[in-house]
Amino acid sequence: MEKNDVKSGVESVPHPRIYYYPGCSLMSTARDLGDSLFQMARLVGSWLEELKDWNCCGASPAHSVNQNYALLLAGRNLVLAERQGIRDLFVICPSCFVRLRTAEKTLIAEPDKNDLLEEAVGKRYQGSVRLRFFLEVGSASQMNVFREAVINPLKGLKGVLYFGCLLTRPEWITGFDVLPYEDELRSFVEALGVETLDWGYGKQCCGAHLALTKPDHVDTLVDRIRDHARRVGANCMISFCPLCQVNMELRGKNSEPLPVFYVSELIGMACRLPRTEKWIRKHLVDPRELLAEHNLL
């Protein structure tokens, strides 16, 4: 019977094609995120299509040392999307999202920067692409599809939402109204059966790329965050960013490890999407014991 509900939900969505910008980590360090996202899209009957010939957005290193370089690397992707006739481009990684959004705003506001882009890739950015964060795939109606498809409510998981730095910050770039947006994410996670706990570390930086260059300091940052998660009684963390997820599972020395789930994985488990087992195994902190304990596997 529940299965039928899933089907009717799927049929109400007209198989839209969703174009996305994967970013370098999606097929690599964030492979579990990638896998679960594809399954999630299938559930709403969407067709995921990659932005063709995308390039790295420049990440932290580009803007750290040459602002124009950062702008044009991100800008090329915008021009590609425009050439490919894409109206809505969904971005998976919050960091890529901020880079692309920043470029979009700058290119429109400063025509001389757009001149530079034209010099490099032979075309100006016209401003016709709407950049969106992947969770926006769930427009109100589609979020309901996920809600209705929950056949395995994740009872027993007590999670803290770890938004990370760039999910909503700064709001004049991301365009999100921070508090309502966070509330929405919280109620969505709760709809999957996860109990979310209040804590004060949801937007404390994980240390980002300093994990390689200053590992000791990143251990301290991660320990502080995880210690707080433990103190409020969490048995898992919920992350939205590939880099946060890796740092939170891999780093920290003086606090007991916690599995860190992407929100898409939670959807996958709650809706018993195929191949869940496959991405669950890719965690650096194995969540299977926790899941088995609550009969969620």
């Binding site: 690599s28 390039n55 990440a59 932290s60 750290s64 040392v65 602002q67 760039l166 930086c205 300093l210």
Partner: protein
């Protein structure tokens, strides 16, 4: 009598120009420094950098470790009552430090950025496995942190084969436009 307060304003003006910020608005309330997650490993706090620029201390600022340690988490921006974008200031300062060829305060972090961007230039995307190996080689830290690297590899978290952008010449051209021809 010689005035001891001959402050060189050219430096701060240059940073204002490059970063699009107005540092005259800074109260030195230290909200940026208080919320900074990496201030523990900075030699100067973010608002101290602003003060040093106001005092014209070009060399001290450009050679500081603080400008390299900032990861751009935007926590300071959200907390600044005047919306001064400290991370944009840091971007501009690193850019200047590199252009002027001063001594780099955090050579390892600069190596990290450089190796990452070499990957971008080579393929248009980042091949994380090679990137990490090259970073380790050039900082002579090949065996530190080996455990976590192996763990990621064994869990299928590192891509084994690189992907390259088809129109790589476009990505190369971007570099040329931004850095001049090599």
């Amino acid at each position: 009598m010689v005035s001891i307060m001959q402050v060189d304003r050219s430096f701060i003006r240059e940073v204002e120009e490059r970063s699009g910020q107005r540092f005259g608005a800074c109260f030195h309330c230290m909200a940026c420094s208080g919320g900074c997650p990496v201030s523990d490993i900075m030699d100067y706090l973010p608002n101290q950098i602003v003060r040093m620029m106001q005092l014209g201390l070009r060399k001290e600022v450009l050679e500081s470790r603080a400008i390299w340690v900032c990861v751009g988490c935007y926590s300071c921006v959200s907390q600044c009552p005047n919306r001064i974008h400290i991370p944009y200031m840091m971007d501009a300062l690193r850019e200047l430090a590199l252009e002027e060829g001063v001594k780099i305060g955090e050579p390892d972090i600069w190596t990290f950025h450089r190796e990452f961007l070499k990957q971008v230039d080579k393929r248009g995307r980042v091949y994380e496995l090679e990137f990490m190996a090259r970073y380790k080689l050039s900082t002579m830290s090949l065996f530190s942190d080996m455990g976590s690297g192996m763990k990621m590899l064994l869990n299928g978290r590192l891509e084994l084969f690189p992907h390259t952008v088809k129109k790589l010449h476009e990505v190369r051209k971007i570099r040329e436009v931004c850095y001049g021809k090599k």
